[in-house]
């Protein structure tokens, strides 16, 4: 039975899981969840994820939610196929991958996501982007990106000179971030910019990027 991912093609968290599945050359089916009709907050979806969030992975009788747990599971289960995203043969490298995934989760994403929200989601609700929210989070992101710039001037990718889940974890939210006026924060840091151009050009990401739209191309 093929793996199923319940989620949406434009969701950062869903695409985080899908990029990983593509890197590992795993067949899967994307089952759309109509979040605009609150399908994710009602049964039967709530039986899959009681927190009412996408994505959810179904692999035979295993149901998993939380995108970073899904990528961790997929990368481990299929560790012998495709690129070594988790450095499973070297526990120190493996743990540096986990450390930088934690950094993405606790420092990068919380600064980037509100900025994405203000530029992409607020307009859908008829609101102007909130300048205070944007500025506050740009200040937080500046600190994070300065650390990244220093690290990426010493290694090609975050956990070392190897692409890993830690880098992959950043792709979806950064893709949207680069379409906001704040993209200059990435572009003006030469090593972060080079890293972004590298990881976003990977074929696995190219397979999902087409679905990552809020319809902004239709807007003036």
């Amino acid at each position: 039975m093929a793996l199923k991912i319940y989620g949406l093609a434009m969701s950062t968290n869903t695409t985080r899981a899908m990029i990983c599945l593509h890197e590992k050359e795993v067949d899967f089916e994307l089952v759309p969840v109509n979040v605009f009709a609150s399908e994710h907050k009602l049964p039967p979806f709530l039986n899959k994820n009681p927190f009412g969030l996408i994505p959810v992975l179904e692999d035979d009788d295993l149901t998993l939610f939380e995108s970073r747990a899904i990528t961790s599971y997929v990368a481990e289960k299929f560790k012998e196929i495709g690129p070594d995203l988790i450095r499973h043969k070297d526990i120190k490298e493996a743990s540096l991958v986990k450390m930088w995934t934690e950094v993405e989760s606790h420092y990068y994403d919380p600064a980037v996501s509100p900025i994405i929200y203000e530029y992409f989601v607020a307009p859908f609700q008829g609101q102007e982007p909130n300048k205070t929210v944007i500025e506050t989070n740009m200040e937080k992101l500046k600190i994070v990106l300065d650390v990244y710039e220093a690290k990426l001037s010493t290694t090609k990718y975050l956990a070392g000179d190897f692409y890993s889940l830690a880098d992959l974890s950043h792709i979806s939210e950064t893709h949207y971030f680069m379409q906001t006026p704040c993209a200059s924060m990435i572009n003006e840091r030469i090593h972060v910019k080079a890293w972004w151009e590298d990881i976003s050009s990977r074929p696995a990401f190219q397979k999902v990027v087409g679905g990552m739209t809020f319809g902004q191309n239709d807007q003036k």
């Binding site: 998993l64 970073r68 961790s72 120190k92 743990s95 986990k98 934690e102 989760s105 420092y107």
Partner: protein, 216 residues
């Protein structure tokens, strides 16, 4: 050479200490005075560039982020002490899921309550924000309702086995239960309360509290 854990009195460091004790790994601690801003000193920032606690040094290997550190030691010392990563890949997947749940859904609210109610000196303006306290508690209530349902079906979060996912909840839940007057959040939920009594009575947690009690 023995692993050094920086900042043992801080809640996040305690996740690591419990894990090390459960895995029967010797360690040393290096106290860091957060209230005096020692974690923002250049020497500390060389080890942990984000200026947060904890960080470990194990020979020439440096690692930060408490959940990453736990995963490292639980994996490295798989064959000794208590098994904290489950027995199968599927069990490990569920442990990862509930570790993420703790990190994404539980921790932010528990952390806000801790800082605003107990350690407002850590805030930029030293002033607790009642709105933050109220909203954090409301979010935590929703999360704990889901935990109650989950723990009515399995003894621990990832299944009928104790794991890193349970350990991750110890430090901040201890603050909630003991020092804030909000113990009802845990105690009023039958299965969450039983789970809390179980995990907080483990010798590893008692030892950590005995040695590195928070500065309250």
């Amino acid at each position: 050479m023995v692993v050094k854990v920086y900042g043992p009195h801080c809640a996040s460091a305690k996740r690591v200490l419990v894990c090390l004790i459960e895995k029967e790994i010797e360690f040393e601690v290096v106290p860091i005075n957060v209230l005096e801003g020692e974690h923002k000193n250049p020497e500390y920032l060389k080890l942990q560039p984000f200026g947060t606690i904890p960080v470990i040094q194990d020979g020439d290997y440096t690692l930060y982020e408490s959940r990453a550190i736990m995963r490292y030691y639980a994996e490295k010392y798989r064959s000794q002490g208590v098994e904290l990563l489950g027995k199968t890949i599927e069990e490990k997947g569920l442990i990862e899921q509930w570790l993420e749940v703790e990190a994404q859904n539980y921790h932010p609210s528990a952390y806000n309550l801790t800082v605003h109610v107990l350690f407002p000196a850590l805030l930029a303006d030293n002033t607790p924000n009642p709105k933050v306290i109220e909203e954090s508690e409301a979010k935590l209530v929703k999360v704990l309702d889901i935990y109650e349902e989950r723990l009515s079906k399995s003894k621990y979060l990832a299944g009928d086995f104790f794991s890193l996912a349970d350990i991750s909840h110890l430090p901040f839940t201890d603050y909630i239960v003991k020092y804030m007057g909000k113990e009802y959040l845990i105690k009023d939920r039958k299965h969450v309360s039983a789970w809390w009594d179980d995990i907080s009575s483990r010798p590893s947690w008692k030892k950590v509290l005995e040695l590195y009690s928070p500065p309250i």
